[in-house]
Amino acid sequence: MATERENKENCFVVEAKMALPNHYFAGRIGSRFIVSLRDHHQILGVRCEKCHKVFVPPREYCERCWTKLDENWVTLGNDGEVTNYTVVWYNERHLPRKAPYVLAQIRLEGADTTLTHIIQGIDPEDVHVGMKVSAVFAEKTTHTIMDLDHFEPV
C-alpha cells in the first residue's frame, strides 16, 4: 500500500471556480437604515417602549417581546465605545479590508446593542475595550452598510 500512496500517477487535481449569483434585499427597515447613513450621515435604531431597549441595526420586531418596532425610530450618536474587538489576520478577496484590520463591536450613544464595524486609524495592538470611537462616512455610496465606512478613535 505504501508504494501505492507514493504513486502520484493516480492523483488528480481539479481547479474550479464557484460563482454564486445573489440578489440581496435590505428589507423596508434595512433600506431606511442605509438611506439614512447615505443621505444624512445618521445612524438609526429602533426603540422598544416595553423593554426600554434601543436596537441597532434596526429590526422590525423586538427580539424579547415581539412588539412591532417599525414606527419607533431613534437617531443614535455617531460616537460610541468599543465593547469587544478582534484583529483579522488573513486576506480574502471578499473581505472589506487588507489584513491586518480591526473588527469591533461598538455601542453607540443611545443604543443598547452593539454595531459590528471596522476600526481604522490606529495600530491594531493599541485597540482596547472601552475606547471611544467616532463614525466616518463613505465619500462614495455603495448603498450598503459600507456607506458608514469605518470608525476611528476620538
Partner: protein, 163 residues
Amino acid sequence: MTMVQRKGVAETEELISLRCVNTIYQRFATGPVMGRWFSGFRERRFLANRCPRCGRTQIPPREICAQCRVRVEDFVEVGPKGEICEIDVYYYASPDPLTGKVRETPYATIYILLDGATEQETFAHRLRKEDIDKARKGDRVRPVWAEETKGRFKDLLYFELDR
C-alpha cells in the same frame, strides 16, 4: 435599487436591493485511491474498490470501508452499463461548481447501479438531455465518453438509455 410607492404612504419609500456575483476559487484533489477511479477513465473503465470484510463495492473508491472501518485494497471493475435506481430532474438553474456558469435546465441526475456493484452502492451522474422524458426507474443505461479520455473528471460526459 428600487423605488416603491406603498399604499397610504405619501412620499415614495426607497427600498434597496443589490445583485452581485460572489466567486470562490476552489481546488479539488482526489488522492491516490479515489484517483484510481479517474485513472480508469483513460481506458473507459469504472474501478470500484471492494471491502475485504463486507464485500461492499465503493464508488468512487475510498481508502477505508465506510461501514467496516477497515482498509480496502482490492479494486474491481464494474459496469460499464447499469440500471437507473432514481431520477432527479432539476428545473432550478443552479451554478456548476466547476465553472460558475449557470446550468441549462432541465437537467437530470440519475443514480445508477452499475453491473457488478453491490446493492445500494449507486453512482450518480448526468442523464442525456434527450432521454429525460423517456427514462424510467429500472431502465438500462450506458456511459457516453468524451472523444479523448485522459483520466479527467470530464472524460465521462453522461449516461444514455441502452435501448
